[in-house]
């Protein structure tokens, strides 16, 4: 009897917690369709804030920046991270402690320390050499830095899950080093690569703190734009952009999940 009461209590708590988790997002989505310019009362359904978005040059440029940043950095991180992941796998019997520390560093470092380190460093390099002017370039560098470890770990774990004799079978069946990459390794880890790409993309779009500190005046991304808009004062327009971003990230994240799940038995 008491056990059932406990279970009922837990079920209620579960739904309460889910409500807690989704309420802030639901409010954002709901009020993005609000006809009134109010965050307190919902007067009717309208798409006026979405229409307003379309005409806002700043938002469109922030959107473009976010997209360029996410795609460029993800592609770069995919290349670099994939190489490291394979290197870690191939040389897994060596003592690679230093490499593991290096790989985990971007993951464990608090965002704010990550962001200001790079900002301070970039600013000084720029003062000394004129290189690394804050802007999309520095943001791409920063994003690639925190994406590399995730790509490397995903690729590594895919390789570890393979029968190591497959590599030998490919050699044995006349595949030259280049052909092994093209006809064996890349097709075999394709799901991991796709998953890693979407994860990198999500991480990039999601990031605010690191972007904020490495951005230049012209390179605001959507989160930076939203941040600025919030600082200026809450506007329902923010709800509309935020809703679009929630949707985009959810799609990318689900894609990443789908591809990481689909593995040959």
């Amino acid at each position: 009897m008491r056990k059932r009461t406990l279970q009922r209590g837990l079920t209620a708590f579960w739904w309460f917690t889910l409500a807690f988790l989704y309420l802030p997002l639901a409010v954002v989505v709901l009020f993005s369709f609000n006809a009134a310019n109010s965050a307190a009362s919902f007067t009717g359904v309208s798409l006026r804030w979405y229409h307003q978005l379309m005409g806002n040059e700043e938002i469109l440029s922030a959107f473009a920046n976010s997209l360029v940043l996410a795609i460029t950095s993800s592609v770069m991180a995919l290349g670099i991270g994939c190489l490291i992941g394979y290197g870690m796998y191939r040389h897994r019997h060596r003592k690679l402690g230093w490499l593991i520390v290096l790989i985990y560093l971007p993951i464990v470092l608090p965002d704010i320390v990550f962001g200001i380190s790079e900002m301070a460093f970039f600013v000084q390099i720029h003062r000394l050499t004129g290189l690394l002017q804050p802007g999309l370039g520095t943001m791409i560098i920063a994003h690639v830095t925190f994406q590399i470890p995730f790509v490397a770990l995903i690729v590594y774990s895919r390789f570890v899950g393979l029968d190591p004799t497959l590599f030998e079978a490919a050699k044995d069946l006349y595949a030259s080093p280049l052909k092994r990459v093209v006809h064996f390794m890349l097709p075999t880890i394709k799901p991991a690569l796709i998953s890693a790409f979407f994860l990198s993309f999500t991480l990039s779009v999601d990031d605010f703190v690191i972007s904020f500190f490495t951005a230049g005046p012209e390179s605001a991304t959507l989160p930076i734009y939203i941040w600025g808009a919030i600082k200026k004062g809450v506007s329902p327009e923010i709800n509309a952009i935020a809703t679009l971003m929630i949707g985009a990230v959810a799609i990318a994240a689900i894609m990443s999940l789908l591809f990481s799940r689909r593995r040959p038995a």
Partner: protein
């Protein structure tokens, strides 16, 4: 075919080839991280020991000025502002981590009691909100806690806040934001611990100890302890360095170390002071990682970092 005497050692050639392979695959990424993260980090640490220049930029000579200022010793004698911020960060971290544990523990347990095919979906439901941008999630709370909203109205009605004040900005809003933000980080390791729970031990304990409370304390809790500790590390470290949530929900009196550091690199412009604050966060991070390693070793398995 005649054996043609000593040939160049195949062994050493193979070693050279392997070393070259290692270099080719690992070097690009390793060099990238060294140049764009390790060097900047080292530079920042150096900055912390320099003197604040006219535009907030670091200058020679080396000094411990910034650390003194963090502890409250400024030009105008002792003022507790920075120290308050530090203590507030510790307090917020402790309170929010504690609350996260209180919510996550029953949730993680509840998921393991549900049917196996639902569990991944339930975990997903817990994790999905954290995929959205932090700024947007925090903005959602601003909408919910602003003056005039039902939640604020409720608080007003209960006499918890003054009329028309709203629930934000406030320390309470920051705590709420932190709990919201870090809940999944705690649920995942706890769920992993509950899933591995040895039910035979629990049943034995139910036989031995009459009260369920004692059975829980002796049989269940110790088994979930590693997951709990891992969760605490995963929550407390980033909470201590949090920037976005106190900035948006906290207002002037809700400032945490992250805001203090960030301010020194933008408006306030005192790089050495900000760098000194960053060093505190780094120390906290390394303590956390060290604790994590110890937990990992106690578990006896490979340490999996929950992302």
């Amino acid at each position: 075919m005649a054996y043609t005497g000593v040939m160049p050692s195949a062994r050493s050639r193979a070693m050279v080839r392997e070393a070259r392979h290692l270099l080719f695959t690992v070097a690009p990424g390793a060099v990238w991280i060294v140049i764009f993260l390790v060097l900047p980090g080292a530079y920042l640490m150096g900055v912390a020991f320099m003197t604040n220049g006219p535009y907030g930029l670091p200058e020679m000579p080396l000094s411990l000025e910034s650390f003194k200022r963090l502890a409250g010793f400024g030009f105008l004698g002792w003022s507790p502002g920075n120290l308050y911020t530090l203590l507030r960060s510790l307090w917020q971290t402790a309170v929010s981590t504690g609350l996260v544990v209180l919510v996550a523990y029953p949730i993680a347990y509840y998921i393991t009691t549900c049917r196996e095919k639902w569990r991944p979906i339930m975990l997903l439901l817990v994790v999905v909100p954290s995929w959205t941008n932090q700024v947007i999630r925090t903005f959602g709370w601003m909408n919910l806690l602003a003056p005039g909203t039902p939640l604020s109205g409720l608080a007003e009605g209960l006499g918890l806040i003054a009329p028309n004040m709203g629930l934000y900005p406030s320390s309470f809003a920051v705590t709420l934001g932190l709990v919201y933000n870090f809940l999944p980080f705690m649920v995942l390791p706890l769920y992993a611990a509950f899933e591995k729970l040895d039910t035979a031990q629990v049943e034995a304990a139910q036989d031995l100890f009459a009260s369920p409370v004692r059975a829980f304390w002796h049989a269940v809790f110790p088994q979930t302890l590693p997951g709990l500790l891992a969760g605490i590390v995963l929550v407390a470290i980033p909470a201590f360095g949090m920037y976005v949530i106190p900035e948006l929900l906290g207002g002037g009196k809700g400032m945490m170390l992250g805001n203090l550091v960030a301010t020194q690199f933008s408006g306030g412009a005192n790089w050495p002071l900000g760098a000194a604050g960053a060093i505190l966060m780094l120390i906290a991070t390394f303590i956390g990682l060290f604790a994590m390693r110890r937990i990992g070793k106690r578990l006896g398995g490979g340490e999996e970092v929950v992302i």
